[in-house]
Symmetry: C2
Subunit: 353 residues, 2 copies
Amino acid sequence: MNSSPTAAVPFVNDLFLRAFTDERLPCPPVWLMRQAGRYLPEYRATRGKAGSFLELCRSPAFCAEVLLQPLERFDLDAAILFSDILTVPDAMGLGLSFGVGEGPRFAHPLRDEAAVNALTVPDMRSLQYVFDAVAECKRALKSKVPLIGFSGSPFTLACYMIEGGGSSDGFPLTRRMMLQRPELFQHVLDVNVTAVTAYLSEQVRSGADVLMLFDTWGGVLSPRLYREYSLKPMRRIVTSLNKSFPQTPVMLFSRGAAHSFDAMALTGAHGLGVDWQSDLADARKAAGPAVTLQGNFDPLLLTTDAATIRREVGKALVDFDPHYRYVANLGHGITPDADPALVDLLVHTLRAL
Amino acid sequence: MNSSPTAAVPFVNDLFLRAFTDERLPCPPVWLMRQAGRYLPEYRATRGKAGSFLELCRSPAFCAEVLLQPLERFDLDAAILFSDILTVPDAMGLGLSFGVGEGPRFAHPLRDEAAVNALTVPDMRSLQYVFDAVAECKRALKSKVPLIGFSGSPFTLACYMIEGGGSSDGFPLTRRMMLQRPELFQHVLDVNVTAVTAYLSEQVRSGADVLMLFDTWGGVLSPRLYREYSLKPMRRIVTSLNKSFPQTPVMLFSRGAAHSFDAMALTGAHGLGVDWQSDLADARKAAGPAVTLQGNFDPLLLTTDAATIRREVGKALVDFDPHYRYVANLGHGITPDADPALVDLLVHTLRAL
């Protein structure tokens, strides 16, 4: 199932892509989830110029600017498109906004049967600003390192679309629809599968070298429900993408779903993200040798000290081979209070493995 | 490791205690976490009389009153002491309070080395109000069903003691102390182990028939760190209690730690709580046949409808034997929006298995 795609375009640094092959690498490639972010003063400056987070996402020039910032500071092996996971439901007309210091909010959440039935796959032209950003980022990178495109997973999108925003108690409105009206919930997932497949396909056509599905909330489900409502829709997307773009590795990242690494490895995905609440050695044991694992350092480490980071990196890699099908990364997005000097230290520590 | 304690005192209904033996039961015993709670109008009336949640906890008479309320409404097989998991750190002088509509807060959290070094095991006389409540509840029950005593786990108590309250992002102050100053963190755990052991022992002497350790936050840790900082301290408590009170079953409930049911089963605990984000069949497979499992219906079900509840109960018990070493329960505390009519339906559905 897990073929080994190789890039058609040569890169100055192709270490990241080689982690999706059988090659043993001298050291693991490194990138950091949300590596362009508020912990960097230069990012805060660009965001100030852009006005807001969404305006930043909607400007290809600003996207390329913040994409390059962490690469200039740190010795990283991949760049990730600067965007949001909720662009697709926004294009469906749900009305995305971000309050100051708050999470995402939809003006028109899917609260009843009529709203669900009215939901359709958006015209991809309404997401042209994202594809333009991909193309601009790709140009700006000058083939230095590969570019990762991404989307939220169908289940995670459904959580925000139904709940209308984030949730501190497991998305009760979403899960109630899932339990009481499974056919309505399935319709939302089906629309999301088609939309996300088209969205990621267009990102590849615009220049993305690797794709990632962020399933931030799959872990709120039990293993049985996760496999049905989160993993199965992702598998449909992976199957389509593998057919259309056999050279493009696809990664899944389900937070809090360590129970199902075995099932994830059977989807045809080339890589699996591992969150910081899992152990890499356990993930490898469950997923088997044929899939690339990515993770899973605790973002909190970047708010501690050098000795703690060196010690914890050592402990995390006990019984785990970091030279084979492994991409070093955090186990969740970098936090605004991360110390850039410690980010540099973490990258160097991993480089020296 | 998992001996089969039997009650010295006969009960009108001993189904719950028999779930800790090898006996196959006609139907599983049922109780519900937080069964005395805000979803019941009679509870809200008593709480109104008491003034506040903490004043309710501090009045043995009111504790007994709310303890009996769900037993009068529903066909339940156990009662649980009405109290809070944070009584022990409050007795250590940390100053527990609850804001209106908010979670717990400590006035004097453990924020530096001096505070940690000053921490000591509290005099159990300062917790006499809890032991009086146990005795009063026991009297009020008139041996109808067994009484469960409980405490927060050492790790979970440490989370609140260091953070100063709840956390929506994984208790960063707590985990930072754990990573940077493991010796300080271990001191907090050591004090908690001694205090919780004394606290639960005194609950048994006051009338508790079964004990439960609530490890609400063990799941924020990776499996490796969970076993070191959450499970190991609980194991020390179980070992002590099993020596002092071989007739008293002890249960562990770690939320979000399905990765370690195998290790939990080796602690000597007689029962393990299963959260709603796990599958019972997986838990049984990991824990083995010698330990009682308790759980794990989604509290959200009690806000849906009868057909959904019947369907989900059926699905949850596929590949799981509900007649052997099993206690039916929710996988987390009942929520204030639960419908009492659906609680009754759930209990009857389980009774009819």
